[in-house]
C-alpha cells in the first residue's frame, strides 16, 4: 500500500498545506511518495525530499506545468495514480481544482476535505456547512481524497532524505492557458495556518476601517480574515473570506469583529481553540459559540484593544 501526495508549491517553495497531507498519508500505514509537478521546480523537489516520512519524490518538470493548470497537472497525476492505493491532495483551491479530474479519469469517486482517517478505506468529512460529520467507506481500487490541512498536524520539514526521481512528462493537452495573477504581498502570516486570526465583518463598514483591524493584527502577528458580507461589500479581498465556501481555519485564537455569526461563517472557524466575539448586537449568533464575548461598538473597542495590548 503506497500513497501519492500531490505537492502544492509556487516552483520555489513547498506550501505548508502539503506537509499536513504528508502527515495524513503517513497515517494510512504504507509508504508515502510526493509528486512535484511544476516548471523549474527542482528546489521544491529538494524540499519535499527532506520532509519527514516521505519515501520518494517524483518530479514532472515542464513549462506547461509551471502555472498549476488543472488539465495539465491532473493528467500528470492520472498517469501515475495506477501505481498507488491512495492519491491525496490538500483541500485547497489548487487541490480541489485538480484532483477530481484525476479521479474521474480513473472512474473513481473522490472523498472531499477529509478530517479523520479511521482506516485506509474509511474517512470522516463534514457536510451541511459543518453541521454534520459523515463517516464514509471508499471501496474504490484507488482512494482519491482531498485533505483538510487544519485537521492534520504538519509533518516535519527536516528528517527525510528521499530519492528524487524524474517521471515522464505528460504533454500539454492545450485546453487552457495562464493569463495573470493578482495576489497581495503579505507582511503578516497567511490565513490558512496562522495561530491567531482577526476577522472583520460588515460592521467594519469600509475597506479603510479594516486598517484598524490590521493594526491589531500587526500587534498580535495575526492573519486577517473576513466574513462573506465584508468581501461582497468590497471591504476585504476574496482570499480573506473565512467560511463554508471560503477558507476553513482552526487557529489558537479567532477574533470575530463585527461579524454576526451566520451558519456559513461558523463552518469556517468553529474549530478554533479560543473564539472571541466583539459585536454591538447582544443577540448576534456569534456569541453562542464565543468563549469570550464583548458587547461593544467595535470602533471604540478596537482602539482600546490596541492600547491594552501595548
Amino acid at each position: 500500500m503506497t500513497a501519492l501526495v500531490l505537492a502544492e508549491h509556487d516552483n520555489q517553495r513547498l506550501r505548508p498545506s502539503t506537509l499536513s497531507v504528508v502527515a495524513a498519508a503517513g497515517r494510512l500505514g504504507g509508504d508515502v511518495h510526493v509528486l512535484v509537478a511544476g516548471g523549474n521546480c527542482a528546489e521544491v523537489a529538494r524540499q519535499a525530499s527532506q520532509v519527514a516520512g516521505v519515501a520518494k519524490v517524483l518530479v514532472a518538470d515542464a513549462p506547461h506545468l509551471a502555472d498549476g493548470l488543472a488539465e495539465c497537472v491532473s493528467e500528470q497525476v492520472a498517469a501515475l495514480a495506477g501505481n498507488y492505493s491512495h492519491v491525496l491532495a490538500a483541500a485547497t483551491s489548487f487541490g480541489k481544482d485538480v484532483l477530481p479530474r484525476a479521479a474521474a479519469r480513473h472512474d473513481c469517486a473522490l472523498v472531499s476535505d477529509i478530517i479523520t482517517i479511521e482506516s485506509p478505506d474509511t474517512f470522516a468529512r463534514t457536510i451541511y456547512a459543518g453541521n454534520a460529520i459523515a463517516t464514509v467507506r471508499c471501496s474504490e481500487p484507488i482512494k482519491f481524497a482531498t485533505v483538510r490541512p487544519t485537521a492534520f498536524d504538519a509533518a516535519a520539514t527536516q528528517g527525510g532524505s528521499a530519492p528524487i526521481e524524474a517521471v515522464a512528462v505528460v504533454p500539454d493537452p492545450g485546453l487552457s492557458r495562464f493569463v495573470s495573477r493578482e495576489s497581495a504581498k503579505l507582511d503578516r502570516p497567511e490565513l490558512q495556518g496562522a495561530k491567531i486570526v482577526i476577522s472583520g465583518g460588515r460592521g467594519l463598514g469600509s475597506a479603510e476601517n479594516f486598517k484598524l483591524l490590521a493594526q491589531v493584527a500587526d500587534r498580535l502577528n495575526a492573519a486577517l480574515g473576513a466574513s462573506r458580507a465584508a468581501v461582497d461589500a468590497g471591504y476585504a479581498p476574496n482570499d480573506w473570506q473565512v467560511g463554508q465556501t471560503g477558507k476553513i481555519v482552526a487557529p489558537q485564537l479567532y477574533m470575530a469583529v463585527g461579524i454576526s455569526g451566520a451558519i456559513q461563517h461558523l463552518a469556517g472557524m468553529k474549530d478554533s481553540k479560543v473564539i472571541v466575539a466583539i459585536n454591538k448586537d447582544p443577540e448576534a449568533p456569534i456569541f453562542q459559540i464565543a468563549d469570550y464575548g464583548l458587547v461593544a461598538d467595535l470602533f471604540e473597542a478596537l482602539p482600546q484593544l490596541l492600547k491594552e495590548l501595548g
Binding site: L69, A70, S74, S93, F94, K96, D97, P100, A103, A104, R105, A109, L110, V111, S112, D113, T122, T126, Y128, A129, N131, A132, I133, A134, T135, V136, C138, P173, L175, S176, F178, V179, S180, R181, E182, S183, I196, R228, N238, D239, Q244, T245, L253, I263, Q264, K273, V274, I275, V276, F287, I289, D291, Y292, G293, V295, A301, Q304, L305, E308, L309
Partner: protein
C-alpha cells in the same frame, strides 16, 4: 452559442439541519428546499450571456427526485429556455452526476457548461471538474468573472492566494463562485411563462449511465458542540483573560 446549466435541489441555506440521533443521517423531511445558491449564480450568468447576445439557448438540467421539477421551473422563470430532468430516487454522488451530465452534453453539444462550484448540502466541490475530465474539456473553477470572446472563455478565479485569470478553449466547464453575479429575483409573470417552457424527463437508464453510489456512508453524527463562554464587561478584562486564562496571547 448554446449554454448548459446544471442545478441541484438542496436544503435551503438558511436551514440549520438536525442530525438524527440514530446516526442514519440528516433529517430533511419537511425542510425547506431551494436551488443551490451557486447554481442560481450559474443560471443568472447564462441568462446575462443571453441578454448580451452571446448565447442563443439556455438548457437547464437537474438530476434527482421528481420534485427537482420545481427547481427547474425556477431556472426557467429566471430565463432558461428549456429543462431536462434526469429522474431517479437513487442517491446520486458527484461521479454519477458527472456521468449523467456528460450524457446530456454529448446529446446537446453546448459550447459552455456552467455549474455551481459546490452544493451546500454535500460540500464536495467535484462535479464540474469530473464532468470536464470525462468530456475531455478544459475547466475554469471558482469563477468570479467570465468573458466570452473568439472561442475562448477568459475567467478570473478566486483562489487561496487571491485572483487567477486563465483563458480556456470552448467548449469548457465553468464553475461559479459567490461574486460572479447577484441572481435576479423571479417575477410572477416569469413564473407563469415558465410553466409553458418545455421540461423533458429522462432516466439514468435512458442515458445508459450506471449511477451506483461508490462511497458508502456508515454513520452521520453531530460535531461536538461549542458552548457559549462568558461575556466580558470591557476590553481590559478581555485582554486579561486572553493573556492569563486562555493564554493565547502574550
Amino acid at each position: 452559442m448554446k449554454i448548459l446549466v446544471a442545478v441541484k435541489r438542496v436544503v435551503d441555506f438558511n436551514v440549520k439541519v438536525r442530525v438524527k440521533s440514530d446516526g442514519s443521517g440528516v433529517d430533511i423531511a419537511n425542510v425547506k428546499m431551494s436551488m443551490n445558491p451557486f447554481d442560481e449564480i450559474a443560471v443568472e450568468e447564462a441568462v446575462r450571456l443571453r441578454e448580451a447576445g452571446v448565447a442563443t439557448e439556455i438548457i437547464v438540467v437537474s438530476c434527482g427526485v421528481a420534485q427537482c421539477q420545481e427547481t427547474l421551473r425556477t431556472a426557467l422563470a429566471m430565463g432558461a429556455d428549456r429543462a431536462i430532468l434526469v429522474q431517479t430516487d437513487d442517491e446520486l454522488q458527484p461521479l454519477a452526476v458527472a456521468k449523467l451530465l456528460k450524457a446530456i452534453v454529448d446529446r446537446e453539444k453546448p459550447q459552455l457548461i456552467i455549474l455551481g462550484k459546490q452544493a451546500i448540502d454535500d460540500d464536495s466541490n467535484q462535479t464540474g471538474q469530473m464532468l470536464a475530465a470525462l468530456s475531455g474539456l478544459g475547466q475554469a473553477t471558482f469563477a468570479s468573472k467570465l468573458a466570452i470572446a473568439d472561442g475562448q472563455a477568459q475567467v478570473t478565479r478566486e483562489v487561496d492566494g487571491g485572483l487567477l485569470t486563465i483563458s480556456v478553449k470552448l467548449p469548457a466547464v465553468v464553475t461559479t463562485d459567490l461574486r460572479l453575479n447577484e441572481p435576479r429575483y423571479v417575477t410572477l409573470p416569469n413564473i407563469m411563462k415558465a410553466k409553458k417552457k418545455p421540461l423533458e424527463t429522462v432516466t439514468p437508464k435512458d442515458l445508459g449511465v450506471d449511477v451506483r453510489a461508490r462511497l458508502q456512508t456508515l454513520r452521520t453524527v453531530e460535531p461536538s458542540q461549542r458552548k457559549a463562554g462568558i461575556r466580558v464587561p470591557d476590553v481590559a478584562t478581555l485582554v486579561q483573560k486572553l493573556r492569563n486564562e486562555a493564554k493565547v496571547i502574550s
